[in-house]
């Protein structure tokens, strides 16, 4: 896979064994591919818990939705936990309307997301 340069808007960090990917302010094709790249990079290096933070995200367009579905599928295939955190009301409403919330956990804050994945890991053990 090509390595799309990660912009200031999309970046990732790790807290313990959880990778957190910040989605930027507008999730479209360009930023979506960067988010997907970051997610796949972490999954391929053994991370089993991903949090995608929509802290800065104002809009998610159709391509963004399609890319998120791809990330959901990748997480499922690797038996990993995926949490969407800090999405604004409009984005949550979009995810609900389209049914994405049936496939992914939603957290209001980053801490809540970290708690969710920690609990999931404990359950799996």
């Amino acid at each position: 896979m090509a390595n799309p340069s990660v912009s200031k808007e999309v970046y990732s960090t790790q807290k313990g064994n959880v990778a957190i990917i910040y989605a930027g302010d507008y999730l479209n094709k360009q930023s979506g591919e960067r988010v997907e790249y970051e997610c796949n990079r972490h999954l391929s290096t053994g991370y089993k818990s991903l949090v995608i933070s929509f802290r800065e995200t104002k809009i998610v367009n159709s391509i963004g939705v399609s890319i998120l579905i791809g990330i959901i599928e990748s997480a499922k295939k690797t038996d990993s936990t995926l949490v969407f955190s800090e999405a604004n009301r409009q984005t949550i409403s979009l995810f609900n309307m389209l049914g994405l919330t049936k496939h992914v956990l939603i957290a209001e804050s980053e801490n809540e997301a970290l708690d969710v994945v920690t609990n999931r890991l404990s359950e799996k053990k």
């Binding site: 391509i63 399609s66 579905i69 409403s93 309307m97 389209l98 049914g99």
Partner: protein, 419 residues
């Protein structure tokens, strides 16, 4: 109500993006991949693919896919009836329970892998009743069935994508035809060139002393045109002009051409008709290059007006004819004739120096001898002069200096004249 508005805006925005994507993207695979993203993202469909139909092979090749098993067949063969049915039926469900009409033959014939790939919907991509591709879609993220509204949106998107595919196919077809025409044209040019060379050989056969003359003049003309920086087509045209410059000699008595003595005035007058005869022979032919008849007509004109057949002066003489004049004269001086041996190259250079500005155009002479100088001084340059003149003819150590002097003097005269 709010959800409906949001759904409408999400869909509307995707349709707008799709239209723009198809209009803007020149890279086809990128367009297909983005179009698939837009279809999947609009209704949050978990998986899907776009396939392009190739009418020549009657097959569909998947050109974009998302979240589908890699074991999918890369190419699907369609028979005539499957094709017709896809064009007529429109969006169809894979499952018999969900299908509003009879399940497509295409689905029945491919049901095993369609089920394995969790494909739920088949969207034929049709333009003017012709199949251009298909879209395969999996289940919606919501787990709900596709609604009538969903299918209306998908139908609209598939029309956009079908047009995009069709345009690409037409563009490719146009490019293919252009390539074929180009090949045909190149073939015809080769035939034309070979015919001209055969014709040139026939002209030279009439004169036992000047065999190969037209061929050599053609090659010298090519060298000059290339040195003058002309494009490939013009260079080739100039070469052809060289091959054909003496075609008018076909109408001159063989005993005049082959006379082993200096011909008399009457014979000379007869011989001097050959440029005009050549022009008359060449004029009715539609040559792929410009000015070939003119080059034959004026290749015995001189800058000072003392040439024939019309006594043109300076810029009245076409440049193509001036090039042939230099090439023709050089070959005449450097080959044996019935009444004399060929002259030494030093002697020839002196002749050109004396007659440049009177008989020969300085630009042409400079280009000609600059090409010769490049060949002598640069080992990487093709040895064309050496092949045409013979290995020993150009061996004088002083030759590069003499050529440089000749070029400098002519250029000096040109500069002085311009000042």
């Amino acid at each position: 109500m709010v959800e409906n508005i949001q759904k409408f805006l999400h869909t509307f925005s995707a349709l707008a993006d799709l239209g723009q994507e198809i209009a803007d993207t020149h890279e086809f695979n990128e367009m297909a991949s983005t179009a698939l993203h837009l279809v999947l993202g609009t209704l949050a469909v978990m998986r899907g693919a776009i396939g392009e139909y190739n009418p020549e092979y009657g097959s569909i090749r998947l050109i974009a896919k998302r979240n589908l098993d890699n074991n999918l067949p890369t190419e699907l063969l369609l028979d005539y009836f499957e094709n017709r049915e896809l064009c007529q039926v429109g969006i169809s469900s894979v499952s018999a329970e969900e299908s509003e009409s009879k399940v497509l033959d295409f689905v029945t014939n491919n049901i095993e892998w369609l089920n394995e790939a969790q494909v739920e919907l088949v969207l034929p991509l049709v333009v003017r009743e012709r199949l251009v591709g298909i879209i395969l879609l999996g289940e919606k993220a919501s787990g709900e069935n596709y609604t009538v509204e969903d299918k209306a949106v998908l139908s609209s998107m598939s029309r956009h994508i079908a047009v995009g595919l069709q345009e690409r196919r037409q563009r490719e077809e146009l490019e293919r035809r252009n390539r074929e025409i180009k090949q045909l044209y190149d073939g015809l040019r080769t035939i034309y060139r070979d015919t001209v060379r055969a014709f040139a050989a026939a002209i030279d056969c009439k004169d036992k002393y000047t065999q190969g003359h037209s061929d050599r003049v053609g090659k010298y003309c090519e060298i000059i045109a290339r040195e003058l920086g002309w494009d490939e087509e013009e260079v080739e045209g100039m070469m052809i002009a060289g091959y054909l410059h003496d075609v008018g000699k076909l109408a001159v008595e063989r005993n005049i051409i082959n006379a082993p003595y200096r011909i008399n005035a009457k014979e000379s007058s007869e011989l001097n008709k050959h440029p005009m005869v050549g022009f008359e022979i060449l004029s009715p032919i539609r040559h792929p290059y410009a000015d070939i008849p003119q080059a034959a007509r004026y290749h015995h004109e001189r800058l000072d007006g003392r040439g024939y057949p019309e006594g043109l002066k300076g810029d009245e003489i076409p440049l193509g004819a001036k090039i042939v004049t230099v090439a023709d004269s050089f070959d005449a001086m450097t080959t044996d004739r019935p009444y004399r041996r060929r002259r030494s190259l030093e002697d020839v250079l002196e002749d050109f120096q004396r007659n440049t500005g009177k008989q020969f155009d300085p630009r042409v002479v400079v280009a000609f001898f600059r090409a010769m100088l490049k060949e002598i001084t640069n080992s990487g340059v093709e040895k064309r002069f050496r092949r045409l003149l013979g290995r020993d003819y150009m061996n004088a150590e002083t030759l590069p200096v003499k050529l440089q002097e000749l070029i400098s003097k002519i250029e000096g005269h040109k500069t002085a004249a311009a000042a």
